[in-house]
């Protein structure tokens, strides 16, 4: 397990990252979901909040610190 953690820390040396595609948003390392709606999602990441707006948002995957969202993205900004 120590070896696994060492490799993981080496490969994922970021505390968080946000991947953005045309219809998908992948957020790794978020702390809390503040708002989850079909048109708006707000996530708390460390000391800031990420606001994603658009329409037809659907959650495809959700774990402790990772979320994959599908939908038509209009805007993304840091609050």
């Amino acid at each position: 397990m120590h070896l696994y953690k060492t490799i993981k820390n080496f490969l994922l040396d970021q505390d968080y990252f946000i991947d953005l595609w045309k219809n998908y948003v992948h957020v790794y390392g978020f702390n809390k979901i503040e708002i989850l709606q079909e048109t708006k999602i707000v996530l708390t990441i460390q000391d800031f909040q990420l606001e994603i707006t658009g329409h037809d948002f659907r959650v495809l995957k959700l774990t402790k610190q990772e979320i994959l969202i599908q939908g038509n993205l209009k805007e993304m900004r840091i609050l």
Partner: protein, 377 residues
């Protein structure tokens, strides 16, 4: 090793559900959303947390991996048990032989073959032998009884062995007669005479009567018998027959269509019964015996649909058919060298839709027969 499962839930507010999952640290690995329900893939250990969410209704749980297999086995255990028992029974039934029947008219040959087979493991209530083993046993038995058996065949009919045997008949040496004539057995006109011993008494185109000596065994010179032999030869003569034949001018004909149906036929005490209902009105069947269980013969039957039609022959067609039938009657009595030379219809009449004819047939036939005689000293 982590275990996963698919859970189908009914939930009104999906966003609220996801927030709750995030709060309760339930990892959702895959989501398939429908109108009023969600299908989510979660870890098995998170299921207890999921159950505690009060505003959702769990509709269906589907385990994955070994758990799913175990679940399926539990669900279909009766069917699987029946399948296994059925397979064992089938193996048992197809490998157990319940009887051995030797087909031969002589009791001594039957018991001789039965004893030989029994000593080689072919007996009642025994396991079926493979084809190669049967071949070896056949050869062994033939080698063991070279003077008694000519040929042996072991067939497996379902759960029975059927053994066909041909007895070897050693030819007894017969003494060649010393004095014999070739005598006519029918009236006729001689057409061909072939002989190797004896003296011919008639020539080609001579008319002979039944009982006439055709080739004499007495070799004469100046009216005196010089030598006596057994006359050998063949005499072909023209002989005549008057044959009658009848043919119906209207008959029913059954012609096969392309429709074929399969069925299983059960025969018990001479009564036939089909496993499935036959949907064909008229059919011809082809039977393939499968096995015999407790006296019931089970056969696989192929049923060919037939169409019934009534055929009406014209007078000319009926005449030709009747003529063919009449000639066939004569041809059946002829051998390879014998043949029909001429034919003539003597009489024809139609009575009750039946064509009746009388035919005069001229045939080239062997009429000589060997007949022994006593030599007067």
């Amino acid at each position: 090793m982590k275990k996963y499962m698919w859970v189908t839930i009914e939930v009104a507010n999906k966003a609220r559900f996801f927030l709750k999952c995030q709060e309760k640290q339930i990892a959702i690995l895959e989501v398939q959303q429908e109108k009023n329900s969600l299908q989510i893939k979660i870890q098995k250990e998170d299921y207890s947390k999921l159950k505690k969410i009060w505003f959702i209704k769990i509709v269906k749980i589907q385990a994955l991996g070994w758990d799913a297999t175990r679940e399926k086995l539990r669900q279909y255990h009766i069917f699987i048990c029946a399948l296994v028992i059925g397979a064992i029974l089938l193996y048992f039934c197809s490998h157990l032989m319940l009887s051995v029947t030797v087909i031969h008219s002589k009791e001594e040959i039957r018991s001789l073959v039965l004893d030989a087979l029994e000593s080689r493991g072919i007996k009642k209530n025994s396991w079926r032998k493979e084809f190669g083993e049967l071949e070896e046993i056949k050869n062994e038995i033939l080698e063991m009884y070279p003077n008694d058996l000519e040929w042996i065949e072991i067939e497996t009919h379902g759960m029975n062995y059927v053994v066909r045997v041909v007895e070897r008949k050693l030819e007894e040496e017969t003494e060649e007669p010393t004095a014999c004539n070739i005598v006519a057995i029918k009236d006729g006109i001689i057409k061909e005479m072939v002989y190797s011993q004896g003296e011919k008494m008639f020539s080609q185109n001579d008319a002979v009567k039944k009982g006439d000596i055709l080739i004499s065994g007495s070799i004469k010179k100046d009216e005196e018998t010089k030598n006596t032999v057994c006359a050998t030869g063949e005499v072909y003569a023209e002989v005549w027959y008057q044959v009658s034949a009848s043919v119906p001018m209207t008959y029913e004909n059954f012609e096969r269509t392309n429709k074929v149906r399969w069925n299983i036929k059960l025969k018990n005490n001479g009564y036939d019964d089909f496993l499935f209902k036959s949907r064909l009105e008229n059919y011809e069947e082809e039977k393939h015996p499968l096995l015999t269980i407790f006296g019931t013969e089970v056969s696989f039957v192929k049923q060919y649909e037939t169409l019934k039609s009534t055929v009406t022959l014209t007078e000319e067609e009926a005449l030709n058919k009747a003529l063919e039938a009449a000639l066939e009657k004569v041809e059946m009595t002829l051998d390879e060298k014998e043949e029909i030379i001429a034919k003539k219809v003597l009489k024809k009449e139609v009575n009750n839709s039946t064509m009746n004819i009388e035919v005069f047939v001229s045939v080239l036939e062997q009429i000589g027969e060997r007949q022994e005689f006593v030599v007067e000293e």
